[in-house]
């Protein structure tokens, strides 16, 4: 029976209006609400559905980062995952380092499916799944909005700029999830209580012998220039006149 590994990242909650630090060194994360990266929730949900359909027996949630990443693992466990793996590493590891750490975990746990979000909403890189797939030489299916498993074949519908693409890939495979893949469940109170007793194995990047030193130097972070405040018009006819004669765009 299959094992599924799901990678989850702790990020600033998507509802938070972020603040750039005044010294330009990054974005304020102190006293800011943090949550599981949204498409990672879809990844957890999909893994649980595969398990519930009887096609897998274990769902493992993995998170890599500082100590607090364990909270994100607990969220996955409360949704229904069976066990957690926490790999301690410096904050802001580059996707390549994360993919290398994940490769080590795959060698250890031997899952048949790896599910993860298609992008993290903090650095917006959209890289890790593809990198992992290349490193382990398993096929990839990115931006998945529908999955169907038939024996050891996976049929995936992918969201692309032109519309939808269907591909068929052999397992084991790496899948990156779009928000439209499913509707993630909420953790119920009893499940949150149960999750507290589920095991989380702790490792570190050093234990796994992965060098996570950055190859890209962050020079500075700044706020984008603000748009000039516009005006309210009173009716449609005024709007059209303004667009025609003031903005000259129609």
């Amino acid at each position: 029976m299959m094992k599924i590994l799901v990678a989850v990242k702790r990020v600033i909650d998507y509802n938070v209006q972020i603040r750039v630090k005044s010294d330009g060194s990054g974005v304020e994360t102190e006293n800011v609400k943090m949550s599981m990266n949204p498409p990672d929730e879809n990844a957890v949900e999909e893994a649980l559905r595969i398990k519930e359909s009887g096609k897998a027996e274990e769902v493992i949630v993995l998170s890599i980062g500082n100590e607090k990443s364990q909270e994100t693992i607990r969220t996955g466990l409360a949704m229904g995952a069976d066990k957690g793996i926490f790999v301690k590493a410096n904050d802001n590891c580059e996707p390549l380092s994360i993919a290398k750490i994940m490769k080590k975990i795959i060698e250890k746990e031997k899952p048949q499916i790896v599910l993860m979000g298609k992008q993290a909403i903090d650095d917006d890189c959209n890289q890790t799944g593809q990198m992992l797939s290349a490193l382990v030489e398993w096929p990839q299916a990115t931006f998945a909005s529908k999955l169907e498993i038939k024996d050891s074949t996976l049929f995936v519908t992918r969201e692309i700029d032109e519309g939808l693409e269907k591909i068929e890939i052999n397992l084991p495979a790496v899948i990156t999830c779009d928000l439209r893949l499913n509707e993630p469940r909420y953790a119920s109170l009893p499940n949150i209580m149960k999750a507290k007793k589920k095991p989380i194995e702790t490792l570190s990047a050093e234990d796994l012998e992965i060098d996570t030193s950055p190859r890209i130097k962050l020079i500075k972070v700044e706020e984008p220039s603000k748009r000039k405040k516009g005006i309210m018009v009173n009716n449609v006819s005024e709007l059209v006149q303004k667009l025609k004669h003031e903005a000259k765009v129609i």
Partner: protein
């Protein structure tokens, strides 16, 4: 130091993203090489060789690239990548799909979604849905970069005299098969490059009502976009989505109808030159970025807008 651009095309047409990526590449080094992987599309390789600043077009013709999967695109790039210190592709679902593979196989950290080239090793890219801009410097010998197409002008399509080098390559993965692609067909301008975009949100309430947007779009010769909520609700298909997890558009005029203006939506349109918002809620955050806001019920405003545009069109005639 040589620069390679991976061309996006569909075997009959070169995508505008390729033109912008070439421009970005030529800001790093004036002479640019382009890799065209395709099936029976030598004519596209020829066309690109005439673009300004092109030194060479490498053309690989094989059925594998009729509907290529990321694995196979990666193999073809890796076959020639040792000749290049920069590899660039557009930061859209085409480039995002294979560039990180190329990076991982080259043991290089990728720089995603670059909007400005500061220096040959320093780049600006948006993070947090464009709510912050990061200036980053790569300290590696090889640089693997995806380019946000809307941040760079298209390259001039003439003046170049690139040579065309056809090479054979047919390594492919046995673990992946392309099945099919469902593309929305439309006579309207392409969303990514249209001069005017009109987008609808959840306020439209149904796929049927969303057709009111089509009518205005036709009168303005505009492309149509949508919020994620409108796509999720099935009013239109996913390729219409504008935002952090959809498309980025920078038209001269963006009209948001019944869209609240969540940061994830703003990420895809707030660089537009003129923004118009029609929303019945005066508190809607979309009004904070709108040049012209109209607080109104869209079901009254859209028919009026349609009439006003008719009037304009008759005057113009």
């Amino acid at each position: 130091m040589s620069v390679l651009v991976i061309a996006e095309h569909n075997n009959t047409e070169i995508k505008s993203s390729t033109l912008s990526t070439i421009t970005a590449a030529s800001q790093i080094k004036k002479e640019v090489d382009v890799l065209v992987m395709g099936y029976k599309c030598e004519i596209l390789a020829k066309e690109i060789s005439n673009y300004e600043n092109i030194r060479k077009v490498i053309y690989i013709d094989n059925k594998i690239y009729e509907n290529p999967v990321a694995e196979n695109i990666t193999l073809a790039i890796l076959n020639i990548s040792s000749n290049y210190s920069y590899i660039l592709a557009p930061a859209n679902t085409f480039g995002k799909n294979f560039m990180p593979r190329v990076a991982a196989k080259s043991d290089v950290s990728q720089i995603s979604d670059v909007i400005k080239i500061e220096k040959e090793d320093t780049f600006i890219r948006p993070i947090y849905a464009g709510n912050a801009l990061a200036t980053v410097q790569s300290i590696e010998n090889k640089k693997i970069i995806t380019i946000r197409p809307t941040s760079f002008e298209p390259v001039i399509k003439e003046g170049g005299k690139g040579e065309i080098e056809e090479i054979n390559f047919e390594e492919s993965s046995k673990l992946v098969n392309f099945i099919n692609r469902e593309e929305s067909k439309s006579e309207r301008p392409e969303l990514g490059t249209a001069r005017i975009v009109i987008s609808g949100g959840r306020g439209l309430q149904s796929a049927e009502n969303f057709k009111m947007i089509n009518e205005i779009a036709d009168k303005l010769n505009a492309a149509i976009g949508a919020s994620r909520a409108a796509v999720d609700a099935g009013y239109v298909s996913n390729d219409y989505q504008v935002g952090q997890t959809g498309k980025v558009v920078v038209p001269e005029l963006y009209i948001a109808i019944g869209i609240s203006g969540a940061i994830q939506h703003l990420a895809g349109m707030k660089e537009s030159k003129i923004i118009v918002a029609i929303n019945k809620d005066e508190e809607a955050p979309i009004f904070n970025v709108a040049d012209y806001g109209l607080q109104a019920d869209l079901f009254e405003a859209l028919p009026e807008l349609s009439l006003e545009l008719d009037k304009l069109n008759t005057i113009n005639k």
